[in-house]
């Protein structure tokens, strides 16, 4: 936080120096009387703007690795800085005005919206999550079938062993070991925990009443269960502990399967078991589109449809609509570019981080929200 502030100050300082330099250059060209050069100078003379982003570690690779570089050619006058601080910090800094964009895996709660009515939640892309396990003896293409209810019972300690009747009845013909299950959850604040616990809350009444959902929750006391930091920590813990199970963000899927982990086919609302394949995530997103309200704060968990994958979500930009005029213009232009299927939502930017583009209907709703910026 402190670091990014220093970085911001340094950038602002360099911006001032750059402006001074530009101004001098413009004057010189004007004196030379060259009309073409003069107009070119005039456009660069408008004060360069720096948009600061902090927040979700899931969105960070998209901003830092893809969008920042790409946007330089779209609007050379605007530079963007990004920092991976966690969604909660991003939200808090966006509300406080320290940064312009707080990247978050979760939308703001009703209570937060009441306290900060000028904030908007703008979906930038679609992400998903898979349930992964380390059960020796299962082959790579063999995916265990699991339901939200069974997962809720595993993570609350009601299902203790892999060959429990509740698991074997979902997986006829699969030989499961009589070994204690080691549930692995995130110990740090995480959008993945938000998604996973929301899935459990939506599919298990017991979980909803006892635990609920959030970016971190009061995990039931299960002997042997462990909490670890970060998606990398979960993958590492799953890989080094046989008979463990946990949840991992979609961008980690390849790395985790390389370590020999399997991932589950999850039971969706229609009762089918589906894998987190691109088309299943897209099917779920399409199914959820009609329910998206104007403020776009909605869970996309457990959408209906034969092929809908049940754990998907919007990745959000949390933005304060009250901005100075020049910043508002720059923010609008950037956000409109980011959600544009020919701009930031292009496959070339999203696929390296395993995100999917927004459905077309969402784009127009997001544009309406982006237009609120500046009031």
């Amino acid at each position: 936080m402190l670091k990014s502030r220093w970085a911001g100050a340094a950038l602002a300082l360099s911006a001032v120096i750059a402006t001074a330099g530009c101004g001098a250059a413009t004057n010189n060209t004007a004196n030379a009387g060259n009309a073409v050069q003069n107009t070119a100078g005039a456009t660069t003379a408008t004060a360069p703007i720096t948009i600061n982003e902090t927040g979700s570690s899931l969105l960070y690779p998209l901003f830092n690795g893809q969008w920042i570089e790409a946007y330089k050619s779209v609007d050379p006058n605007v530079s963007i800085t990004a920092a991976s601080t966690g969604s909660g910090t991003g939200i808090a800094q966006a509300i406080a005005g320290t940064v312009q964009i707080g990247a978050s895996d979760a939308y703001l709660s009703d209570a937060q919206m009441q306290q900060n009515p000028s904030m908007v939640n703008i979906p930038l892309a679609i992400s998903a999550q898979q349930v992964m396990y380390n059960v020796p003896g299962l082959t790579g293409d063999q995916h265990l079938k699991l339901s939200g209810d069974v997962l809720a019972k595993i993570f609350s300690g009601k299902i203790k062993v892999w060959d429990d009747a509740a698991i074997t009845s979902l997986n006829p013909g699969v030989k499961l070991p009589h070994q204690p299950i080691i549930p692995v959850h995130r110990s740090d604040s995480s959008g993945d925990t938000f998604l996973f616990t929301q899935f459990l809350s939506d599919t298990s009444a017991d979980w909803k009443n006892a635990v609920g959902f959030g970016t971190s929750v009061s995990w039931p006391a299960v002997a042997g269960a462990i909490g670890v930091k970060g998606n990398d920590g979960v993958v590492q813990a799953l890989a080094s502990n046989k008979y463990s199970i946990g949840y991992v963000g979609i961008s980690w899927l390849d790395k985790a399967t390389q370590q020999g982990l399997g991932y589950a086919a999850l039971k969706n609302k229609d009762g089918n078991f589906v894998l987190p394949a691109k088309e299943n995530i897209q099917a779920a997103a399409q199914a959820g589109v009609s329910n998206v309200p104007d403020d776009e704060r909605i869970s996309l968990i457990d959408e209906p449809g034969a092929n809908s994958y049940p754990i998907i979500n919007f990745e959000y930009a949390i933005v304060n609509t009250k901005q100075p005029a020049d910043m508002a213009a720059a923010l609008k232009k950037f956000l409109n570019w980011a959600i544009d299927p020919n701009g930031g939502n292009k496959d070339q930017y999203l696929s390296p981080v395993h995100f999917l583009p927004l459905p077309a209907e969402i784009e127009s709703k997001s544009q309406a929200q982006i237009n609120k910026i500046g009031g």
């Binding site: 937060q112 080691i182 959030g214 269960a225």
Partner: protein, 337 residues
Amino acid sequence: MKRVSSRSKIADQVFLVATGLCASSPILFLLVITGIVVVQSIPSIRLMGWDFLTSVTWNMGSTYGAMTVKNGVPVPAGASYGALPFIVGTLASSVIALLIAVPISLLTAMILAYRVRGVVKSALSIVVELLAGIPSVVIGLWGIVVLAPWVSSSLGPLLTHVGWVIPFFSGPVGTGMGLLTSGLVLALMVVPIITATTRDLLEQVPILYREGGIALGMTSWEVVRLICLPYIKEGMIGAVALGWGRAMGETMAVLMVSGSAINYLPQNLYSPISTMAAVIADQLDSAMTDASHMAVHALSELALVLLVLTLLTNLVARLLVNRSRGTRRAGMGVKAG
């Protein structure tokens, strides 16, 4: 002549103000930090009272649900903060670290102070001090990749054999991420601190005392046990307390190997735990999504408990080290006289 003197007077004044400002900054920092932590903790103290120290459940409540008012403070429904598992985890892991580190440090310090000389001595001393400079995240990484699997597959199962004598040692061993591994990692981090302090203490034992012991026909072990250790006793307690303070405040390495238990107390030596420092680092980001801000206040109170504990141990350590230094000086005086 006059000009020079007035200039040097001004310089002296500047020097006075500058040193005064700088010298008062540590007190100022301590006061400001303590003040902020106390003020931030007040809503949480009102919400939980003493239950904060004795209750086992840590729950931010339903942050996406409706707000309720509990004990006159607005909080999300279901919010309740009990820090006992984190306090127990902090104390237990740091005490295990000391049980392992103190004998190792003491024996190492004896060798460094009395048995090796010249190049070997300075080389060994440098290595010990380098150990203190390893970033804790590196030790944590080693803990996850090497130590935890080893505890799970080798050390843990071995220790369960004494489970019939000490029930706390019995299994199940689990994943290796937990109390024992945290204690081992912390031991590694406090060994250099205790070793360096103890070595300095041992070197200050007057040579005449030791020579006297040897002249009386004492063995090396007897000289150390009957002369050196009694001489440095108080300073030694101080050195241990310094290490303890370090172990309690360590965050990253423990966070990586503790298994981050929440809502339960350790059941055995291998049980996952959480420490106060690790919970603060882990939960702060989530806490910021709590619209009532109570989660942040609760973490502040946790910080307050940790601050009080570490300040107390440090204070006691300083007092004991200073007292033993005082006796030593008096002893030197007698010798010189």
